[in-house]
């Protein structure tokens, strides 16, 4: 058993036993869903179905239904794609990077953060797929022999790198998540009373029995997957940023994009984790496992990554002037003072100023305030992508072609629809899956549990 310093706040509050951990996590799954769950689920489902309907209309009619024009060929769709992929960065960062750094506080949040990641990447994947217009030929992005002669996909293109990066990220995250879920499903299986539930969890748990050899393999597989997923997390958003950085559009053609996008992704991902967990811990009575300290840790990550993002914004501005390229300088001047000034300054306020408030301990430990900031960051990061994409292209080299982007009704419906679908998935997850890595939490109970840390024996040497 590992012990830790007495001044560290315990990660599990109260007097919990191993059995209590099981009870606390399984109770919401075994009991009846509260009325609020049904209400939220219905709302999310209706919004989600509206989005699905809009996507079907889009596929039937063509992407002309979007608010694009000759000047602005990329706008709302790719903004949403990048926003969702960014959100989908927190889960694997928490479970992989924090595992490598042996951060024990990850154990209470990694399961739900990773579920959030997977659902967010699902939503992200929707946008490039529907943007093809002809969804049914989507498999053309794969290098498969075809009847067009020697026609292959272009391996020099960042758009193809994205295909590989996103699909690898999604499938590896899914596997990482599921391997961790198997032992927890076994716990639910062994407690299940109703035959249908028993059968379902029996299938889901793959017959896990908790043998010593299996746990030995489990720990190694988790470690190696974490080692593989860590560079993967960084590569995915770097490659997303290449979609812009390798072009020659002023405002996109920037070498700092990869680290800047990765920091932004982690920033927005943690904000979304925060938004969801602050509600979930309350609704599911998990306050003993996800408490103020966890919220504070997450807000420190938000503060650090937010500061990186802020530095990147200012660096971009400086370089646009220092480069001496007038088109580059204009692109940034236009962002700040042109017709999209409101989007630019919303982004600046939400992403640069709000994370700096987290230097104040009292604020980052206030649950209500941190919830508010997490929403602000989510909004700010959407605006960041919109600003980068739309303001860089809406005024190109010929003033006669200058234009504005107005999202169409379908643009908005598809975006809002993905938010609905995301919550449909997340609510189903919260209802039927163990939202806490309960067996992993048991391993830190004696080292970081409050009642153990406060007992007189804890600091005795053996």
């Amino acid at each position: 058993m590992q012990k830790e310093a007495a001044i560290r706040e315990p990660l599990i509050l109260g007097n919990k036993t191993y059995h209590d951990v099981t009870e606390d996590v399984c109770r919401p799954i075994e009991g009846k869903a509260p009325k609020m769950w049904y209400i939220l689920f219905s709302i999310a489902l209706i919004i989600g179905l509206y989005g699905v309907g809009s996507i079907l209309y889009l596929l039937g009619t063509g992407i002309g239904v979007w608010g694009l024009n000759k000047t602005i060929g990329w706008a709302w769709d790719i903004t949403n794609f990048v926003w969702w992929v960014g959100i989908g960065h927190a889960g694997t960062l928490i479970s992989a990077v924090l595992l490598l750094f042996r951060q024990k506080w990850r154990m209470a949040i990694n399961r739900s953060a990773e579920a959030m990641t997977i659902f967010a990447v699902f939503m992200a994947g929707t946008f490039p797929l529907i943007h093809m217009g002809r969804l049914w030929v989507g498999y053309w992005v794969l290098p498969i022999p075809n009847h067009f002669g020697s026609l292959w996909v272009n391996f020099n293109s960042p758009l193809l790198w994205d295909v590989f990066a996103i699909s690898t990220y999604l499938s590896v995250s899914l596997v990482f998540w599921y391997i961790g879920l198997i032992p927890d499903f076994a716990t639910i299986r062994d407690r299940a009373k109703k035959p249908v539930a028993k059968r379902m969890y029996s299938i889901l748990s793959f017959g896990w029995s908790g043998r010593a050899k299996h746990w030995n393999r489990f720990e190694l597989v988790s470690l190696v997957l974490a080692g593989l997923a860590t560079p993967l997390v960084f590569s995915v958003h770097s490659i997303v940023s290449f979609d812009f950085a390798t072009s020659v559009i002023p405002g996109w053609h920037t070498t700092i994009f990869p680290p800047y996008f990765v920091a932004g992704a982690v920033f927005s991902g943690f904000a979304m984790v925060q938004t969801l967990l602050l509600v979930m811990r309350k609704a599911m009575n998990l306050e003993a496992y996800i408490h103020t300290k966890h919220v504070e840790y997450m807000h420190i990550v938000i503060m650090v990554t937010g500061s990186i993002v802020g530095t990147a914004y200012i660096t971009e501005l400086f370089i646009s002037w220092y480069s001496g390229v007038e088109y580059e300088a204009y692109a940034f001047l236009n962002r700040a003072t042109g017709p999209y000034w409101w989007a630019y300054w919303s982004m600046m306020t939400c992403n640069v100023i709000s994370p700096q408030l987290m230097w104040i301990r009292k604020l980052r430990r206030s649950l209500l305030f941190t919830f508010f900031i997490s929403i602000v960051v989510n909004i700010g990061m959407w605006f960041e992508r919109y600003v980068i994409i739309v303001t860089s292209i809406h005024r190109d080299y010929i003033p006669a072609a200058w234009s504005m982007h107005y999202p169409s009704h379908i643009d908005i419906a598809v975006y809002v629809g993905t938010i609905g679908l995301f919550f449909v998935f997340f609510l189903l997850f919260a209802r039927y899956f163990p939202v806490l890595a309960l067996n992993e939490v048991k391993t830190i109970l004696k080292g970081s549990g409050q009642s153990y840390k406060e007992s007189p024996d804890y600091h005795k040497h053996h």
Binding site: R191, G207, F242, K442, T443
Partner: protein, 178 residues
């Protein structure tokens, strides 16, 4: 041949560990330990060797890297020298920078999935497999040690019982397996 199996159940991982130490030094071979979470330090006591799945992951990753390299070499250099800005791909080495992202992604893809599939097959944990833990509480808060008499030649049941006494188990169960 029938075999007698002794299941000693403990309520705490540390107690099970010290008990296992005592039994092993008394010459008992512990066949299996079932626990709700990994008990750190139990493997050397009961003689579970470290897994070689890490080496497998490396080999799968190497396979992925090789496949990606061969694939991109064939598609982009041999079969169709894509001409971008008057610079066709005549050699792999000169164009390798553009191939690094996909080489990396494909390496990770193969290593992660190859290892995960091997892990599930080795454990025989697959959809629809029956649970094999002797007691449903071993996935909650109980820890069970399994001792098979057939694996302990020269030790009688009474001798094992005597060694188990005072180790702090909460339940002792004996079964005859055909």
């Amino acid at each position: 041949m029938s075999d007698k199996v002794i299941y000693a159940m403990y309520g705490d991982d540390e107690v099970l560990k010290s008990s296992a130490k005592k039994l092993v030094s008394g010459g008992v071979k512990i066949s299996e330990v079932y626990s709700p979470f990994p008990i750190h330090g139990i493997d050397p006591i009961i003689g579970v060797k470290g897994t070689r799945l890490g080496i497998m992951a490396f080999l799968y990753g190497l396979t992925g890297l090789t496949l990606a390299t061969i694939g991109m070499y064939y598609f982009m250099v041999v079969e169709w020298k894509m001409n971008i800005g008057g610079k066709p791909n005549f050699s792999y080495v000169e164009n390798v920078l553009a191939f690094i992202p996909i080489s990396f992604e494909f390496t990770v893809l193969c290593a992660a999935h190859g290892m995960a599939i091997t892990y599930l097959l080795l454990n025989r944990t697959l959809p629809g497999m029956p649970a094999q833990n002797p007691d449903p509480r071993t996935t909650d808060d109980k820890f069970v040690m399994e001792i098979r008499l057939s694996e302990n030649h020269g030790l009688t049941e009474e001798k094992v019982d005597e060694l188990l006494k005072d180790t702090g188990f909460v339940e002792l169960d004996k079964k005859i397996i055909e």
